[in-house]
């Protein structure tokens, strides 16, 4: 208590620790709120169920539809969970403390998005085989589906986080996020479904996965910048 | 001149509906884009003037 003020500064120490701490904290927070954890998954399953009911339960037809349906449902499920990424932190003042930290903001942002992805995108990827059975997707397509989701959903989380950061100061940001973010999701959707279709027809997957990987790399480099700037702007207003 | 008569010009070789519809839309979009800021301007000036008068009355 009686130490000299500002005496023992250890800058640059604890960046990795901060990343790990934020990741752990966000995972812990989600795991303690179980309902929110499973909501995107339930939503995902429900949207999938709507298609056979709304279009046709005929296996051949569903098999043809499956890559697109699964990808669109994954996209919507990610989007649905996006609004809460910064919302609770904004409401209880944690976000202010985060922005006032001398540590690099991008690090914390990436950790938060990673935590979010692990509980939505990764979870969706893991239940995808089950869904593909329900939609009669040929077994050859399943690895392509899982790989494309694995590479594509992090990009969805990163881009979605930009929308979440831009709308966090607004009372009703939910619908607005979709409007802002959905157009930006289109390339991921195109390459993702392309990968699955290629896998089904036995064409090589590499090109699609490389494109999805390139999008992800670009997202990891640029999205945290935009998210950080957007958070500072939203809190400032 | 690519047309021999006025009726030929109107019919546009059977595509008259499409061509004239396009040009009508084009013109209306252009005019709308000019009318909107002009109307906004007169509305804004009236509003700002009212505001100025209100402020002058109750300093």
């Amino acid at each position: 208590m009686n130490q000299q003020l500002g005496a023992s500064r250890r800058p640059d120490i604890g960046m990795g620790a901060l990343f790990a701490a934020t990741l752990k904290r966000d995972l812990k927070l989600s795991l303690r709120r179980k309902s929110e954890l499973v909501n995107p998954l339930i939503f995902f399953l429900m949207v999938i169920t709507l298609f056979p009911l709304g279009v046709s339960p005929e296996p051949g037809f569903l098999a043809e539809l499956a890559p697109g349906v699964i990808w669109v449902a994954a996209l919507l499920a990610t989007l649905l969970s996006m609004d809460s990424l910064f919302r609770t932190d904004f409401d209880d003042g944690s976000l202010e403390q985060l922005l006032l930290s001398p540590q690099p903001l991008m690090l914390v942002v990436v950790a938060k998005v990673l935590a979010h992805w692990m509980l939505t995108g990764l979870a969706l990827t893991l239940v995808a085989p089950l869904i593909s059975v329900m939609l009669f997707l040929p077994a050859e397509g399943v690895p392509g589906l899982m790989l494309s989701l694995l590479l594509g959903t992090p990009t969805l989380s990163l881009v979605g986080a930009i929308g979440a950061a831009l709308t966090v100061g607004l009372k009703r940001g939910g619908v607005l996020i979709s409007l802002l973010v959905l157009p930006l999701y289109i390339p991921v959707l195109i390459f993702g479904t392309g990968a699955v279709q290629a896998a089904v027809t036995g064409l090589p997957l590499g090109g699609y996965l490389a494109l999805l990987g390139a999008l992800l790399a670009l997202g990891i480099v640029l999205a945290p910048l935009a998210i950080g700037a957007a958070l500072r702007i939203s809190v400032s207003g | 001149m690519s047309f021999n008569s006025f009726s030929e010009f109107l019919s546009m070789g059977g595509h008259g509906l499409y061509v004239w519809l396009s040009y009508a839309l084009g013109l209306s979009v252009i005019l709308l884009n000019l009318a909107a800021p002009l109307m906004e301007r007169s509305r804004l000036i009236a509003q700002l003037k009212r505001r100025l008068q209100r402020e002058n009355q109750s300093p």
């Binding site: 604890g14 620790a17 901060l18 701490a21 003042g93 930290s101 001398p102 400032s236 | -």
Partner: protein, 212 residues
């Protein structure tokens, strides 16, 4: 060192078509307590948010130790403790987890002292219950424990004494006094009169608003 710790020059800010303050200038030296006064809606919270760097909707200059604050943002942040309207406490986490994360955000803080800080604010025995089971006052004290942990030189406190009982207030005032005695500075807003914290300078925003 003759330089003021925090120097504010010609600050101008408007909100919702209303000028909150115009040409507001003041210095905060080390060892000083500055109380921001003003009626509700006079812009006290806005001013504190601007000073802390959260809000950037202002015109004018702010200097931290003689340098424009935008240029020394990181140094400034590591010397700042901001206590806002929302306490920044996660209801689903325990007090201990909350403070550990705060320590991760400020690398210079020692997580080993979290226990001690919680004891100081009277939360011994509540370290590992989720914060949402705590009372409003206890909730706020979790956040106040940051004051005991902090080694920041500038404290910006927005209504730090709400939902705190009398004895708690006295303890916090003593803490502020100690901080100032160590060469720190405090900028705060409060509805209560400060006693026993040494000299308090006050800045009134109401007169500012009239001028603007």
């Amino acid at each position: 060192m003759s330089q003021a710790m925090l120097k504010v020059e010609n600050l101008f800010c408007e909100r919702d078509d209303r000028v909150l303050f115009d040409q507001l200038s003041f210095d905060v030296d080390s060892g000083e307590i500055v109380q921001i006064e003003g009626a509700n809606g006079s812009g006290k919270t806005t001013l504190l948010r601007i000073l802390s760097g959260l809000s950037r909707n202002y015109e004018g200059d702010i200097y931290w130790q003689g340098e424009p604050v935008d240029r020394v943002r990181d140094e400034f942040r590591s010397e700042l403790l901001y206590f806002g309207h929302q306490p920044g406490v996660k209801a689903l986490l325990t007090p201990e987890e909350n403070l550990h994360w705060y320590c991760a955000l400020h690398a210079s803080l020692d997580p080993a002292r979290v226990q001690e800080a919680l004891e100081q604010v009277g939360l011994r025995g509540f370290e590992d219950v989720p914060c949402h089971t705590l009372s409003a006052g206890q909730h706020r004290r979790v956040s106040l424990a940051r004051l005991y942990l902090s080694d920041a030189r500038l404290w910006i406190l927005d209504e730090p004494f709400t939902a705190i009982d009398k004895r708690g207030v006295a303890a916090k005032e003593a803490l502020i006094g100690r901080h100032v005695a160590r060469g720190g500075s405090v900028i705060l807003t409060t509805h209560q009169d400060l006693q026993g914290s040494g000299a308090v300078r006050s800045i009134n925003l109401d007169r500012q608003g009239e001028r603007g």
